[in-house]
């Protein structure tokens, strides 16, 4: 019994330490953003890595999600002759939930893992120490460009995912279910409000912060060579996934049951 309580206490302390560490890294990142100089070149390089290079996988994920959503709902809606509403269902689901969340999960798996592996490898090969000895702050030099790149690119990727997902639904609706082009478009745009898109974008900004901070924190904490890099990468992806889904739940509750705008 004593051991059990001891173990529980240790886990709680390590959880508090982890949360505190992530929060401290986040506040330091915000601080270093405003410390000049802010070089454009590393940010643009990261934007290409994070954003442009993620376009194909985001395209595939969103396209198939939009198509599957339309196909699955058609199966049910046909029974009550309400296939027409598939367009609205796809548009709202993509902009409010699936667009931001799926894009964030894909980016966390692709970019978050790569950030942790890169920083972790730099840590075990003493490159982070070398940065400090060369009078450069590792947060300013390594975290800030990645943070700003993700903060800018994830909302853009989300808008892209929304459009591709809606197009996926359109393909099924128009070519498989024989809904006319005009009717499908009308049923897509009519129920869609600006709020749906904006709340999705706000979520994606929060997700970008989560992905970058967790990935960099895990990268900086790596110990013990290649095995440590692998373990940290896995942990970064799993933690990001959990936090993204938890944050999504919180934001949905706030936006649709807490605020009204």
């Amino acid at each position: 019994m004593n051991n059990w309580i001891w173990g529980l206490g240790e886990r709680f302390i390590s959880f508090i330490r982890y949360t505190g560490g992530v929060f401290v890294l986040f506040t330091q990142t915000i601080f270093w953003i405003f410390v000049p100089p802010l070089k454009r070149r590393p940010i643009l390089d990261q934007m290409v890595k994070v954003g442009i290079n993620s376009l194909p996988i985001v395209f595939l994920t969103s396209m198939f999600t939009g198509m599957v959503l339309a196909l699955q709902s058609a199966y049910q809606m046909q029974k009550i002759s309400a296939q027409l509403y598939i367009a609205s269902l796809v548009a709202l689901s993509m902009t409010r939930e699936l667009g931001p969340v799926l894009t964030a999960l894909v980016v966390a798996g692709r970019t978050g893992a790569s950030i942790t592996a890169e920083l972790g490898s730099m840590k075990v090969t003493e490159q982070i120490d070398a940065l400090e000895t060369l009078a450069s702050n590792p947060i300013k030099y390594l975290v800030v460009p990645r943070f700003l790149a993700l903060l800018f690119m994830l909302p853009l990727l989300t808008v892209y995912a929304d459009m591709i997902g809606i197009f996926g639904g359109y393909v099924v609706g128009v070519w498989k279910l024989n809904i006319t082009h005009n009717l499908y478009m009308e049923m897509t745009w009519n129920p869609l409000k600006l709020k749906d898109v904006i709340t999705g974008l706000i979520k994606s900004i929060a997700f970008a912060m989560i992905i970058c901070t967790v990935a960099c924190y895990e990268g900086f904490r790596v110990e013990g060579g290649a095995e440590g890099v692998g373990a940290a990468t896995t942990k970064a992806v799993v933690t990001s996934f959990i936090l993204i889904i938890a944050a999504d739940c919180l934001f949905t509750a706030l936006f649709y049951f807490g605020f009204s705008f």
Partner: protein, 196 residues
């Protein structure tokens, strides 16, 4: 001058540095020898301010490293050059960008001046004209020498060498030792070497 006064550092219950005292005069070269895990690297990291001690002081030219933070600590670090055991070159940058890193990041020197200084440093370590190469294209010995070129690029007053000849063949080891002696006589630096 580097002064280490009553320096203590422990990791959990493992005492690594226990009231260490050491004075290194300007222009002096000292070698720190000891078993693995006896705290040689930890001492070097305290001298350059990467690690904070549990107690004690490291004083460099009347500045207490252990109390410095942010900009002041970075200004002090510009007096240092450090050669890491595995060279610790940034593999996302080219050789030239590695060697000129501190100049590019912390000085307002124009591109021509930086290029010339990088070429000069690479020539000093016997690696002329490899600025454009990626780090992955270098051999172990070349990496060490590029690391040394990076360490001397800002004309440091103090150079720390962390196991400079480990992992290189005996001929290259001798060449690096000669290079260290040559640099010490040319640049009149204070050098701290760590060896197993």
């Amino acid at each position: 001058m580097i002064e280490v006064v009553n320096l203590c550092k422990s990791f959990d219950e493992n005492v690594v540095l226990d009231n260490l005292n050491l004075t290194i005069k300007d222009g002096e070269t000292i070698v720190i020898i000891g078993r693995s895990g006896c705290g040689k690297s930890v001492l070097l990291k305290h001298i350059i301010g990467i690690m904070k001690p549990d107690s004690g002081q490291v004083i460099i030219d009347d500045q207490e490293v252990t109390r410095l933070n942010g900009k002041d600590l970075n200004e002090l670090r510009m007096k240092f050059g450090m050669l890491f055991q595995g060279a610790a070159l940034f593999d996302s940058l080219t050789v030239g960008e590695n060697v000129g890193f501190a100049l590019i990041e912390h000085t307002k020197s124009d591109e021509k001046t930086i290029t010339e200084r990088v070429a000069e440093c690479l020539e000093m370590v016997g690696l002329r004209g490899i600025e454009h190469l990626r780090i992955s294209e270098l051999s172990g010995g070349m990496k060490k020498r590029v690391g040394l070129a990076r360490a001397i690029c800002i004309n440091p007053k103090i150079i720390l060498y962390d196991e400079p000849t480990t992992g290189v063949d005996p001929i290259m080891g001798d060449a690096i030792n000669d290079l260290i002696r040559e640099l010490q006589s040319k640049l009149k630096t204070t050098a701290v070497l760590r060896r197993r």
